[in-house]
């Protein structure tokens, strides 16, 4: 059994064993066919491949044998080799569901979810009850930003399999992605919109940044005094910050609001009526209004919450712990996140993806020794990734062992040359080891990450050390400019940070 990326289970179960036996072929081929069948049944996919290749060569017209070969290649992890064979099968048998599913699975495994969608959609169309196909399709849709389609597939899956935690997690994440997407679109279309301010306030509440949330809710009310839910949200902020009396005042204001005009504000009415599925759908216009995007985000958030609530009612699962870990990370509680990833791993030991998440969480928690241990253990046991190498390398740099960190950082960059954080870390490591000239190109490459001026500072020192005084002055001036801008921003934020009584 293998796990698809979207959490669905892939079960390629059909082998075309009997094809040869039923034909008048040589006894040798029949024997080989049987041998291959037995190897496949025993899970020895690698060993079956050369036999199937021989059989296909001998009987090139036998689509069944070609499918068996593709299956063996796919099951042995040779995805790229399996794909042309699956495609060849599908040319002859366009509706062969096992070939469609396996082709989709191979594309997913290769990190090509976009190309996986077409065969999986065909598989689902041909066999709507096939949970594996639909699950993989939902996952591929998620990965390609087709969140609404993903949600639709997950919703269908949860209706037939309500006790599968993976599906509720997928459903919740797809709705959450819809909400996030709506917020992003709103920001792009009107960054000063009071609707955007209300959504931003909601995210601040989730992060427990109540002062900031208060500011943004107040900003919303300046322009939309009758928007339903804002006074109630302010009341929530007041309660969370210990101002119960002020909370009651805001709640009274919420109750006193006139009912929404459902002809002009249909989405609002749908949301207030609890018709979240309807409210989460955007009107089919080229450019949705800020109001429409706002209510879509609100409704999708609500639907995500409902899905996650259902997930929480199921027995403990990897997905539940994953969700909790992600929430903790979002709320800047890295130790909680570590705890949850550890719990997930207790359920599914040795899962490399979970181990990588744990390593990253330990790193975020500043427990660099533990992050290093986890990352190196996973690197030894599983396929190396740029992220794991970065965690190991940067942890070592932070533990003041730059010479040991460098090989990992170089490996991270070899795997992902665009991982600028690895360049930044490698630059620092080289500087610490006195290899300033080598450090400079890495620091220069990483400058795009420099939001606090630290990389410009490092670069200025490096230029200084190598005699490039003019460049050093320029870099130091840039460092000071970033500090100045950050200070201005900080002062602006400070002005937002007062919780005052209701107006």
């Amino acid at each position: 059994m293998r796990q698809g990326r979207g959490g669905a289970v892939i079960l390629p179960t059909l082998f075309f064993f009997g094809l040869i036996a039923g034909r008048a072929q040589s006894g040798d081929l029949a024997q080989k066919s049987e041998q291959a069948r037995q190897l496949m049944a025993a899970g020895k996919f690698e060993a079956a491949i050369p036999i199937y290749k021989e059989l296909v060569k001998a009987l090139p017209q036998e689509t069944g044998l070609l499918l068996d070969l593709a299956m063996a290649q796919h099951m042995a992890g040779h995805e790229a080799e399996s794909i042309p064979n699956f495609e060849a099968v599908l040319k002859v048998q366009p509706s062969a569901v096992p070939a469609l599913i396996s082709l989709g699975a191979a594309r997913v495994a290769l990190g090509q979810p976009q190309q996986a969608i077409a065969p999986l959609e065909k598989a689902v169309a041909a066999d709507p009850a096939n949970r594996d196909a639909r699950g993989m399709l939902a996952g591929a849709c998620m990965e390609t930003g087709r969140f609404e389609q993903a949600a639709e597939h997950y919703r269908k899956l949860t209706s037939t399999t309500p006790d599968d935690a993976r599906l509720w997690y997928g459903l919740g994440m797809s709705y959450q992605s819809i909400a996030t997407s709506a917020l992003d679109r709103l920001q792009q279309s009107d960054s000063q919109s009071p609707y955007l301010a209300a959504l931003v306030a909601g995210t601040r509440v989730q992060r427990r940044q109540y002062r900031s949330a208060f500011f943004f809710y107040r900003e919303t009310l300046k322009q939309l005094p009758n928007l339903h839910g804002i006074h109630a949200a302010l009341a929530d902020v007041y309660r969370k910050t210990g101002h119960v009396d002020w909370a009651e005042e805001e709640e009274a204001k919420e109750r006193a609001l006139p009912p929404a005009d459902c002809r002009a504000h249909a989405a609002e009415c749908q949301f207030l009526a609890g018709k979240d599925l309807d409210a989460a759908k955007l009107p089919r216009t080229a450019k949705p209004s800020p109001e429409a995007l706002f209510w879509q985000a609100k409704a999708a958030n609500e639907l995500a919450f409902q899905a996650f609530f259902r997930l929480g009612q199921l027995p403990a699962s990897v997905e539940l712990h994953r969700l909790r870990a992600e929430i903790a990370r979002y709320q800047n509680q890295p130790l909680e996140s570590v705890k949850e990833w550890r719990a997930a791993l207790a359920i599914r030991p040795n899962d490399p993806q979970l181990e990588q998440e744990l390593a990253a969480a330990l790193f975020m928690a500043g427990d660099y020794r533990a992050a290093l241990d986890q990352a190196t253990a996973t690197l030894q046991a599983a396929r190396p990734t740029a992220e794991l190498n970065f965690v190991a390398g940067d942890s070592l740099v932070r533990l003041e062992e730059p010479e040991k960190g460098m090989p990992y950082l170089r490996a991270a960059l070899a795997a992902d040359p665009k991982l600028l954080a690895a360049d930044a870390s490698l630059g620092l490591a080289l500087s610490r080891l006195g290899k300033t000239s080598e450090a400079i190109p890495h620091l220069e490459k990483a400058l795009a990450l420099d939001d606090d001026g630290s990389l410009h500072y490092q670069l200025a020192r490096a230029y200084q050390a190598t005699g490039s005084q003019e460049k050093a002055r320029t870099a130091m001036a840039a460092y000071q400019e970033i500090l100045k801008k950050n200070q201005e921003l900080k002062e602006e934020v400070a002005r937002e940070a007062q919780i005052e009584p209701p107006k």
């Binding site: 509680q333 890295p334 500043g366 660099y368 932070r398 630290s454 990389l455």
Partner: protein, 550 residues
């Protein structure tokens, strides 16, 4: 052991022809450093009462300065602890909040003389700075505090007088640390007061996680910093605030501590000020009564990664025996205890990694520190008083709140953590630390304060410590304490200062470890005014008082 009798060094040529350069030059393996904790049996029962509140007022976690001074002139170093107060009144509403003076009665016995000396203090005290500001031969005391500073004049009869107002010392801001130095070289000690930030008891930001009911001390970023204050000593018992005139008023930081040294060897003492989560300051003394802030150009404002850290205490001394004062800073776990090595010509390099202090300190959070030669091998070791700032840190980060102190042996310019074998096992919320040879055996001991728990007195019992000398300077033209004088023995250089570590003070002369050297071929003293005095053929293992020009 009482110090030897007054000794005026003669300039006679000695035949003890040990090469002057051997002291501190060779990177021999460090001999063992050992301490044992004896506060209770020595009669020290001081508890740093910081008055922790559910509101988590930031001042609660910052205090704890300690001073060592020989207030009664008997040659034995005494101890003074700064203490907290009630919050929000900021009054010492109970004797438990008194600052405490312990008289060293010899043989590791101390007696609480706070009341009779009149130094119980007022307000929420933070740091202490001891020095003889009026050149009368008796160390005086400045106590920095939250909105209330106090200057005590030592009357010489075992009592002190509060002369704060008379001397023109202001209060009203949150002062954490202070130090005495003679910035204008007029022979009178001036006072530098380091301020943290604007704060009042009405500050009520909730930091932490309200839904879990976990309230923590707010991050420093929520507090608007303050400039230091420089008081010029007029020499008549009064001071004038010359902060603006000296060009210091515009340098706003969240100051924690300070150190003095003439880093560029131009004859004028410079000032390094640590800032909490802000770049540090290095004030270059221009010699005309003004300072210029040069930390960024000099390379001491930030670590090599360019990120501000929680700089706490500092020592401004030469750790690698190249004759130039370097800078060591304590900070929080994950930030290391940075080492800035002085390369000469006004330039420093981050040597935290190169000195091996980085890997040795990265897991520690430190406050007080002292760069002293604890095993007398000719290389200054580092003692740090450790604890995180946030008592709830374990709920949020992979860090520890209460920690044992640490000692890092200097092995020829690189450091090694030898805390475990040194016996520093007591786990507390340590804060200030001061250092002195309390029993006159030539080995530097330590006294450490801890929030809400008894202070510690660490007797240095290092078994194979080398020879040593302590120089007690007596300025005549220069300030009487000789503060700012630079003393060279072989490749070792120390400057006379009472300012040490975090918000603390230590007035017990200038200590040198000598290794196997029993006679010192040459001691060179450059007094603050520039006069050079040379002593030759000086016997080791003594406290040597040196009078200027004699």
């Amino acid at each position: 052991m009482k110090p030897p009798a007054y000794f005026v060094a003669c300039a006679a040529v000695t035949l003890a022809l040990l090469a002057a350069g051997i002291v501190g030059n060779a990177a021999a393996p460090a001999s063992a450093i050992r301490f044992r904790e004896i506060a209770a049996q020595a009669g020290i029962s001081f508890v740093l009462e910081n008055h922790p509140t559910p509101e988590k007022h930031l001042i609660e976690t910052i205090p704890g300065g300690v001073a060592v001074l020989d207030y009664d002139g008997d040659g034995r170093p005494d101890i003074y602890f700064a203490n907290g107060a009630d919050i929000p009144s900021l009054e010492k509403s109970s004797p438990k909040y008194w600052n405490r003076l312990y008289r060293n009665e010899g043989n590791w016995k101390f007696r609480d003389v706070t009341e009779e000396a009149g130094v119980a203090g007022a307000g929420y005290s933070m740091g202490v700075a001891a020095a003889d500001y009026d050149n009368d031969g008796r160390p005086d005391l400045f106590v920095a505090g939250v909105n209330r500073n106090t200057l005590y004049h030592n009357l010489g009869n075992g009592r002190f007088e509060d002369v704060t107002a008379k001397a023109g010392i202001r209060s009203g801001e949150w002062a954490v640390a202070a130090g005495w130095f003679d910035y204008d070289r007029d022979g009178n000690l001036d006072l530098w007061v380091v301020h943290y930030a604007k704060w009042s008891p009405s500050f009520d930001r909730y930091c932490g996680d309200a839904t879990r009911g976990v309230r923590i001390y707010c991050h420093p970023k929520y507090f608007e910093g303050l400039a230091s204050t420089l008081y010029r000593n007029r020499g008549d018992g009064t001071f004038e605030d010359v902060t603006a005139r000296a060009g210091l008023a515009r340098y706003v930081g969240r100051g924690m501590s300070l150190g003095f040294a003439d880093y560029d060897q131009d004859g004028y003492p410079d000032v390094f000020v640590t800032n909490d989560n802000m770049p540090n300051f290095l004030f270059h003394n221009k010699g005309d009564g003004t300072f210029e802030e040069v930390a960024l150009a000099a390379g001491t404002s930030l670590r090599d990664d360019g990120k501000p850290i929680s700089s706490m205490g500092t020592e401004f001394k030469d750790y690698d025996n190249d004759g130039l004062p370097d800078i060591v800073v304590t900070a929080l776990a994950g930030e290391t205890f940075p080492v800035f090595r002085n390369r000469g010509k006004g330039s420093f390099v981050d040597a935290t990694y190169a000195s091996r202090m980085g890997p040795a300190s990265v897991k520690h959070s430190g406050w007080g520190l002292g760069l002293f030669d604890f095993n007398n091998d000719g290389w200054k070791d580092l003692f740090t008083a450790n604890s995180h700032v946030n008592d709830r840190v374990e709920a949020f980060e992979a860090a520890t709140y209460r920690e044992a102190n640490a000692v890092f042996a200097n092995e020829g310019g690189t450091f090694r953590d030898v805390s475990a074998e040194a016996g520093l096992a007591a786990v507390k919320a340590h804060r200030g630390a001061a250092f002195a040879d309390f029993d006159g055996d030539g080995r530097i001991d330590a006294v450490v304060s801890a929030l809400g728990e008894p202070a510690e007195l660490w007797q240095n019992v290092s078994p194979e410590a080398g020879h040593w000398i302590v120089l007690r300077l007596q300025g005549v033209k220069d300030n009487r304490d000789g503060i700012g004088a630079r003393i060279r023995i072989g490749s070792q250089v120390n400057e006379m200062t009472t300012t040490v570590g975090y918000a603390s003070s230590a007035d017990s002369g200038v200590h040198f470890g000598l290794g196997k050297l029993t006679t010192i071929p040459k001691i060179e003293i450059r007094w603050p005014g520039g006069a050079v005095q040379t002593l030759t053929g000086v016997a080791a293992d003594q406290v040597l008082t040196v009078k200027q020009g004699k």
